[in-house]
Symmetry: C2
């Protein structure tokens, strides 16, 4: 969360409620010492953990298994200048327990693409932050609307 | 770009055409040694550089000025399982030349929020990658549709 940017900070529970509505989020990590970002569909677990389902052979899995990553989802209305953004930060790890894997095959997120061998990756929600721009302010150079952002 | 993930890679010019249509993208960087991501509105320059306008006092500016960052934009249709994602990677730097700053006040991106003192930040497009999921495949466990994703 950055200060001085005109957004309202969201509480953890507000963040999780918004995340639940999102179909796609973005995994932010490091790849070959460069910042990397990849959109994925996901399922939110009750404690706020983010669950992904992807190819066991994917480079993404190698890049993030055991690493601390960020997961971001957002929704903006460009015309209204409003929207929200939520970021979950925590360690990502492949689900290795066979019983849990089997359970997630039935109850976990569905892949948009069919993989030969799949794995589930869980991102623990150690840090959950969010911000909302309520709209009502207009573009730079125009008058401020009456509804404050803060 | 990750291999083995069922997406089609996009050429640089395709990427830039898609980026031009997007109103909001996400700056991916590092903040206090953790992955960080922040949505912003932006303007694409002719050479593919990404131009942002934000508060001079923002922590974002301090975090990214002089650093190599990623900038991502995407659009997905969750029902059709289709969409695209483009990532620009390059160094971010605050525009310090007064004449260029003045020019950008008139021609640059418009802020969604009004700041007391504004700066422009340019992300050079040293590396531009993109991926597209054409849709047509269905969820895991169902039949593949006839249109290949390749």
């Amino acid at each position: 969360m950055y200060r001085n940017d005109g957004f309202r900070e969201l509480e953890r529970q507000e963040c999780l409620r918004l995340l639940e509505q999102a179909a796609v989020g973005r995994i932010v990590h490091t790849r070959e010492a460069l910042p990397a970002v990849l959109p994925v569909n996901f399922l939110l677990e009750q404690d706020g953990a983010v669950l992904l389902r992807t190819s066991a052979a994917s480079e993404l899995v190698r890049a993030i298994d055991g690493a601390v990553v960020a997961f971001e989802a957002d929704e903006f209305d460009a015309a209204a200048h409003s929207g929200w953004s939520v970021v979950v930060i925590g360690p990502a790890s492949v689900v290795t327990d066979p019983a849990e894997h089997e359970r997630l095959v039935r109850t976990g997120p569905r892949s948009w693409v069919r993989w030969p061998v799949e794995v589930f990756v869980r991102i623990k929600a150690e840090l959950v932050t969010g911000r909302e721009l309520a709209g009502g302010r207009t573009m730079y150079g125009m008058d401020l609307a009456s509804r404050p952002v803060t």
